[in-house]
């Protein structure tokens, strides 16, 4: 009985995605019509037969995700080291402050960033989207680096200094290698969050014609009828994110067993 319940839940959760995936292997223009198995949508997606704007939206999405994830990984790691070395009272406070943006509704983050950019007279476009994505990704990086710092022998930094390393060399040669697994997990997390985001992006993307995947699909859907090539694209993105998630989980598991050993 309990098992049946679990399966029912899983089916309900994954049915929409499954439907998209199934119908990505048929040619029908309208979703729901099955006109026989075909991979034509996939080939046309890669052959460049789709509208130019979908492809450019895809590129924008990846460029933004790459930039935002890289910068927030750097910022978040350095912030985590700083926070970790604070006195325990201050550390708790900052950790709490760090948790707020993660709990905060995306729509609030989006609106506040929009108001911020407007009030400073910054014209919205690629840069503002990247800045916005860095803002909501960085706390997640801090969160994934922190456990590595806690696990680290607290004397290794001093040991490096003692052996003649300058503080910068010690950071580079000892601290970064030690927290690298946390940084990589943080990067992957930031990357997927950035690809996934719609609410913050729509408020910060401006009206210069810049589109990311999520804003493109939204606009496309409102025009009536989705471009059929979105079905294979959604499938590919879903699989990619799934793989990344599995990687993150495996890494977390490995860290746990390392700790026990």
């Amino acid at each position: 009985m309990a098992k049946a319940y679990l399966w029912l839940l899983l089916v309900l959760l994954y049915a929409p995605i499954l439907i998209i995936m199934i119908f990505s292997f048929t040619e029908a223009k309208v979703l729901g019509n099955w006109t026989g198995f075909s991979t034509k949508l996939y080939s046309s997606l890669f052959a460049g037969n789709v509208q130019h704007s979908l492809i450019s939206a895809l590129w924008n999405t990846f460029a933004i995700a790459m930039l935002a994830a890289t910068i927030s990984t750097l910022l978040g790691s350095i912030a985590a080291i700083g926070i970790f070395n604070l006195r325990s009272g201050a550390r708790q406070t900052i950790n709490f402050v760090n948790a707020i943006p993660m709990m905060n509704a995306d729509i609030i983050t989006g609106i506040s960033l929009f108001l911020l950019f407007v009030s400073f007279g910054i014209s919205q476009g690629f840069t503002t989207v990247v800045l916005a994505h860095i803002t909501f990704c960085t706390p997640y990086v801090v969160l994934s680096v922190m456990p590595r710092l806690k696990k680290m022998n607290q004397n290794v930094y001093e040991a490096a200094l003692d052996l003649g390393a300058t503080p910068f060399q010690a950071l580079h040669k000892v601290i970064f290698p030690e927290i690298r697994p946390g940084m990589i997990s943080g990067f992957i997390l930031a990357f997927t969050l950035s690809i996934d985001d719609f609410a913050v992006t729509i408020f910060t993307i401006g009206n210069e014609g810049l589109e990311t995947l999520s804003t493109f699909i939204y606009a496309d859907a409102r025009k009536g009828g989705l471009t059929p090539e979105l079905r294979p694209l959604s499938t590919i993105i879903f699989v990619t994110v799934l793989v990344l998630l599995i990687v993150i989980n495996k890494r977390a598991e490995k860290q746990k067993t390392d700790k026990i050993r």
Binding site: V156, A159, A160
Partner: protein
């Protein structure tokens, strides 16, 4: 502390002499160093001079400031006041990577992402040495610590003892002037610790560099050192050779901390005559004056125990007897209520009547640091005095104007400790307990940040929170 001042003076002369010769014999000098954490002084006017090639151990209970002192020498922390020099160079503010010292940490602090070779080569690579030289030096260092052929091993795959060897190799490969060791053997089991002690001593001999070793283990300190520095509460209590420290402890703290001891209150009647435990003894100490209160130390192995006979100086009943491997440890209670710890190869069962004898040479007499509590206070009115942050009722005082600063004296046995903090006028925590044969001498750290000393028959534990009361008639007011 006359002995200390003497040593200081001697070393000062040595430095002056060394300065003239352009080559100082003193490798580390720590002068008037203070370290504060907020209001609290963790190091309080520390002066220490280490000769080149010496094996110096800084010994003390946890929280005495010994690790802080080492970290100031290593440069991980900076002194609030005072001056530290290494090899004639003033380095008080110098960052750690520019100091000619290397440190071996308690928990090894090896770099887990590097293998054994790269851990040891870390310092040499930073100095941009040619790789052939690095390889040769690393091999030498590994040989020195008995870890040949371990170069390619992952440090996580090594045992605790092996990791500590790598940590030592990583430090000595840089050929520092001074090797600092912060409780390096504390995490090892007893057998391994003993082996490593011997190896460290060998290493010190063959390297010829100065070792500064921090430990709370008095036996380790006695085994390894040329010189022991005993610390307590941020102050150096005594500096001396292991023999000096053991045989001639300067005060009751050192006597209690180093080895087992019987510490009793005594009175120096005149030169070479001391009275304690209700009996007069011949001793070898002199120069304390007549009828001077003193602390007497007798090591448990220096008391002879035998069937009651004419030769006995004291008689008593054995209250407990424990086999300790080499000897038996027996507690003997005298009829007038004093308890002695005696160690002997012969066993006397609990309940046996015995005689005790101490030879004059084995009685060590120490000047008392204090004979009563003294506080700075202020007279509020003729029957009230303020000290330790509280106003106490006292006997009527005449001839002193209110608001005058005064000295307040209270005898140790007149301070009453209460279980409930609320019952006391003052509150504090018990922080040092000394058994004096028939009573306990406690140091209580009051919440006013001053110590109050208490004699009591009640058993308290270290860290107990207590309330403190003092009866008005026991408060003596002295014009200051």
């Amino acid at each position: 502390m006359p002995l200390f001042r003497e040593a200081y003076g001697l070393l000062f002369n040595l430095i002056v002499w060394g300065y003239i010769m352009q080559k100082s014999d003193c490798i580390i000098s720590v002068e008037h160093v203070y370290k504060y954490y907020g209001e609290k002084a963790v190091l309080n006017d520390v002066n220490l001079f280490v000769r080149k090639g010496e094996f110096v151990t800084i010994l003390g209970p946890s929280g005495c400031g010994k690790t802080t002192l080492l970290r100031l020498i290593a440069g991980f922390q900076t002194a609030s006041e005072g001056e530290i020099s290494i090899a004639g160079m003033e380095i008080t503010q110098t960052p750690p990577h520019k100091r000619p010292v290397n440190t071996v940490f308690q928990k090894y602090a090896l770099f887990p992402h590097l293998n054994v070779f790269n851990n040891i080569a870390f310092g040499l690579k930073l100095k941009k040495m040619p790789s052939a030289t690095i390889e040769k030096k690393v091999k030498q260092a590994l040989k020195m610590v008995g870890m040949t052929d371990y170069e390619d091993r992952d440090v996580d795959s090594l045992s605790g003892g092996q990791q500590q060897r790598v940590a030592i190799a990583r430090a000595i490969v840089n050929e520092p002037e001074v090797l600092l060791l912060d409780e390096p053997l504390a995490a090892l089991d007893l057998k391994m610790r003993k082996d490593m002690q011997m190896e460290l001593k060998e290493m010190h001999k063959s390297l010829g560099i100065t070792f500064v070793y921090v430990t709370h283990d008095q036996e380790e300190a006695l085994t390894l050192s040329d010189t022991i520095v005993v610390m307590s509460e941020g102050k150096i209590q005594q500096i001396g050779t292991p023999m000096d420290i053991y045989n001639e402890p300067i005060n009751s703290f050192v006597a209690d901390f180093i080895g087992e001891s019987n510490i009793l209150n005594g009175v120096m009647i005149k030169d070479k005559r001391v009275s304690f435990a209700g009996h007069e003894f011949e001793c070898v100490d002199e120069g304390f004056g007549e009828n001077a209160p003193v602390d007497v130390v007798i090591r448990p192995e220096d008391i002879y125990i035998f069937e009651p006979s004419e030769a006995a100086m004291l008689t008593g009943t054995v209250t407990s007897s424990i086999f300790k491997g080499v000897h038996f440890e027996m507690m003997v209670q005298t009829p007038n209520g004093y308890e002695f710890m005696v160690q002997d190869y012969h066993c006397f069962e609990a309940g046996a009547e015995v005689g005790l004898l101490v030879k004059p040479f084995d009685i060590h007499v120490m000047k008392k640091e204090r004979t009563c509590n003294t506080f700075d206070g202020k007279l509020v009115d003729s029957t009230h005095v303020e000290f330790l942050g509280c106003v106490f009722e006292c006997k009527e005082v005449t001839g002193i104007e209110p608001e005058t600063p005064v000295k307040v004296e209270i005898d140790f046995q007149d301070v009453i400790l209460e279980d409930n903090e609320e019952d006391g006028k003052l509150t504090g925590a018990v922080k040092f307990i000394l058994y004096k044969g028939n009573h306990y001498h406690l140091t209580v750290f009051t919440d006013w940040d001053e110590d109050i000393f208490v004699d009591t028959n009640d058993v308290w534990d270290d860290g107990d929170r207590v309330g403190i009361t003092i009866a008005p008639e026991n408060i003596r007011i002295v014009h200051s």
